[in-house]
């Protein structure tokens, strides 16, 4: 069933059942991909525009592949911020694209709220592919999907008893927000830990437990989700040095050894090796302990985004 919301701007706006529907659809997509190498025709004859104002090879490629698998007519645009400063507003640009009659606009933008602004000026369904420090809904959906696939959870709507630990930059991370909302809506317990300077006010009001002591929370976690540290933006301002960050919030070999053996390690990528996570832990080269599912996350990006595109693309 196509979703009621015209756009997918964030997990915050989704109901629990809608999240479950995406995950179930993704599961079917995954099975269809596995059983037949042929393209699906969910988006046949429909134009999809990938509009990336911010560079992101991985997310862009993942959406492109998902759209192609669904036989969409795909156009990818990577406007430079500079072309928009020459007097052309986002609004003007979207009104021009509108003439091409796209069914879906996939938008990545450096400013929080920009996809919503675009959505107001287009009839197409806008899929937020990450905006500023706001949300990155498809990343959260693929993260939940990965957790469910790996832990063999089939009832997506019931993650009660699952302890999710989100570590690091809660202040600027859109991945953190979307995951916090998604896991909470599905019933999991979510704990946010990081340097106090990266814990914005109000996280508790979204149902998270909040703390600064990674070591205390680590042994109880079923999922440890490490957030990318944007070095250029953070160092000096929010913590003294990367070395100090790693000492208190890095997933070192020593910390890895103290995790539950069945727990999962996730990272939205790209990884700063040796900062958020020890290279050997990241690559799964350390024996025992929790599993690293970073590549599974990438892998599951395709069926999850196919699910999103086909569901939102089916709206009339």
């Amino acid at each position: 069933m196509p979703p009621k919301n015209k756009d997918l701007l964030g997990i915050k706006d989704l109901k629990r059942e809608q999240i479950v529907e995406v995950l179930e659809t993704a599961s079917r997509m995954k099975a269809r991909l596995a059983s037949s190498p042929q393209k699906l025709d969910d988006l046949k004859g429909k134009a999809v525009i990938n509009l990336f104002f911010e560079p992101s090879t991985r997310t862009r490629a993942s959406f492109e592949l998902a759209a192609r698998r669904l036989s969409a007519d795909l156009l990818t645009m990577t406007p430079q911020a500079s072309s928009l400063t020459k007097g052309e507003s986002l609004q003007d640009m979207v009104e021009n694209l509108e003439a091409m009659g796209p069914r879906l606009l996939i938008v990545r933008h450096g400013s929080s709220g920009a996809p919503g602004l675009i959505a107001r000026h287009t009839k197409a369904s806008v899929i937020n592919a990450g905006d500023g420090s706001h949300e990155h809904p498809t990343q959260a959906l693929l993260d939940v999907f990965t957790v469910c696939e790996t832990l063999k959870i089939t009832d997506y709507g019931d993650l009660k008893g699952l302890n999710v630990l989100i570590v690091g930059d809660l202040a600027y991370s859109r991945v953190a927000r979307s995951n916090l909302f998604a896991f909470r809506k599905l019933g999991a317990r979510v704990t946010c830990v990081g340097p106090a300077t990266l814990l914005p006010p109000g996280l508790e009001s979204f149902g998270a437990r909040v703390g600064t002591d990674f070591d205390r929370e680590l042994p109880g976690a079923d999922v440890v989700m490490l957030l990318r540290i944007q070095k250029e933006r953070q160092e000096k301002l929010n913590f003294p040095s990367l070395a100090e960050y790693t000492r208190f919030y890095g997933l070192t070999k020593e910390r890895h050894a103290r995790m539950k053996p069945e727990a999962l390690i996730m990272h939205p990528g790209p990884i700063n090796r040796g900062v958020e996570i020890d290279p050997d832990v990241a690559d799964g080269r350390t024996g025992g302990g929790a599993r690293t599912v970073i590549l599974d996350q990438v892998h599951h990006g395709i069926p999850v985004r196919m699910a999103v595109l086909s569901l939102w693309g089916a709206r009339e």
Partner: protein, 430 residues
């Protein structure tokens, strides 16, 4: 020239008058307030039965945008908006292009406003040249040209030594110093309050402390220099507590609050609504409650609009890129009357905050009251008239308001400046 306003409810808080009276204006001054004044020899009669006759409103904080940004507003459209809102005097801020930091610009504003303006315009000069916070503007020469105070509004004077000098120097010319209190290092790019809403939206928030630090600093400097300090658009509970305590100690500090900070919380920016992007940002419900209490207790001296018109292309953009501010002249009275409905204030309090309060801060003798001998600056409005705020009908050139569509009460029928009816049931006569 004689005007007689008959049978209105005359509310003059400065004179503690509230009752049905006639008001006679002769040659630009209020001549008499009384019952059954004779109509002989009167040039114009205004029947104000059922309506309120109040001292003309004075806005301490308006951005008229001329010179330089006439596409947003100019002296004509801005003063028309003022008249339509019941304002008879507006103080206009210095952040024009070029900046009003010298007597040439001040003289231009005064002269042009006299030619095309509908209401009185009193410029506020810049504190620092170019609003750069580095060296003092030509404060004395601007005083000669007509400013009544100085402010770098839009920017904060971050250099405490310069702010001290400004207060000392301005005192020598008996000028008011108006503080835009915002620690710019702390507030960053935020035009949203730091809190759960900012976190959810992924927007950089500005904490209350960014304002309170500067309020505390400027009070300390006013104490040091014994100058007259006025805090513009005060928005937090903590700032109010600082002002309250300073007043108790006898510091010459006053403050204004805007209607939007009294009516909205940071929730209003949800959905990245740039119309609600203002500086200081809309705060928490707790702050709004404290500001309302401050109005009631008299700690807040005036309501000021911070009328900040912007073109739609400056607002229909990404939230962090959006221009800050909203248009306020035409919505101030109806929004304040909501405070009467909410039982926060009585009608005479609203009028005091819009007339006698600001007149006292600005040092206007013979304004903000209807006492005989005063300037015949008068607003006649129907406080009960039901309506909706309709941005498409603003007299301002700009439409940026978060209040569009709000059901409100209160309609201005006549605005009289210096004994001349300048706004007459929707029409202007300059």
């Amino acid at each position: 020239m004689k005007i007689l306003i008959k049978n209105g409810r005359v509310v003059d808080p400065a004179e503690r008058r509230d009752g049905v009276f006639d008001v006679l204006c002769v040659d630009g001054k209020v001549a008499k307030v009384g019952k059954g004044l004779p109509a002989e020899g009167v040039d114009r009669m205004v029947d104000a039965r059922g309506w309120v006759v109040a001292p003309g409103f004075i806005d301490l904080h308006t951005h008229l945008r001329e010179p330089g940004y006439e596409y947003k507003e100019d002296l004509k459209s801005g003063t028309e908006a003022a008249a339509a809102g019941g304002f008879t005097t507006v103080l206009c801020m210095a952040n024009t292009q070029p900046v009003n930091d010298n007597a040439v610009i001040t003289e231009f504003i005064v002269r042009k406003a006299r030619e095309v303006g509908v209401v009185r315009v009193v410029p506020v000069g810049a504190i620092s040249k170019g609003l750069e916070g580095k060296t003092l503007a030509d404060i004395g020469q601007m005083a000669d040209a007509g400013i009544i105070g100085v402010s770098d509004d839009g920017r904060c004077v971050m250099d405490s030594a310069l702010m001290r000098k400004a207060l000392q120097y301005a005192r020598g010319f008996n000028l008011l110093v108006i503080s835009h209190a915002e620690d710019e290092n702390l507030s960053g790019p935020g035009s949203i309050n730091e809190g759960a809403t900012a976190t959810e939206l992924g927007l950089p928030g500005s904490p209350n402390a960014a304002e309170e630090i500067i309020v505390a600093r400027d009070i300390a400097l006013a104490e040091l220099t014994r100058a007259r300090l006025h805090i513009a658009h005060l928005s937090t509970r903590g700032s109010l507590d600082l002002v309250r305590a300073a007043k108790k100690r006898g510091v010459a500090v006053t403050c204004e609050v805007t209607p939007h900070h009294l009516m909205l919380t940071d929730e209003a920016v949800r959905g990245y609504r740039t119309e609600a992007s203002v500086r200081p940002p809309l705060r928490s419900a707790e702050d709004v409650a404290a500001l309302r209490k401050g109005l009631k207790e008299g700690v807040v001296d005036a309501v000021a609009t911070d009328h900040a018109p912007h073109a739609s292309f400056e607002k229909e953009v990404e939230f962090v890129k959006a221009a800050h501010g909203l248009v306020g002249l035409e919505t101030a009275l109806p929004l304040c009357l909501r405070l009467v409905e909410d039982k926060v204030l009585r009608l005479p309090d609203v009028i005091r905050l819009l007339s006698a309060g600001p007149a006292k801060i600005a040092g206007f003798k013979g304004r903000g009251t209807l006492k005989p001998g005063s300037d015949a600056d008068i607003t006649v409005f129907d406080p009960g008239a039901k309506g909706k705020i309709d941005a498409s009908r603003f007299r301002s050139k700009s439409r940026n308001t978060p209040f569009d569509g709000w059901p409100v009460r209160g309609r201005v029928h006549y605005t009289i400046v210096g004994g001349k009816v300048v706004y007459d049931e929707g029409h202007f006569n300059s």
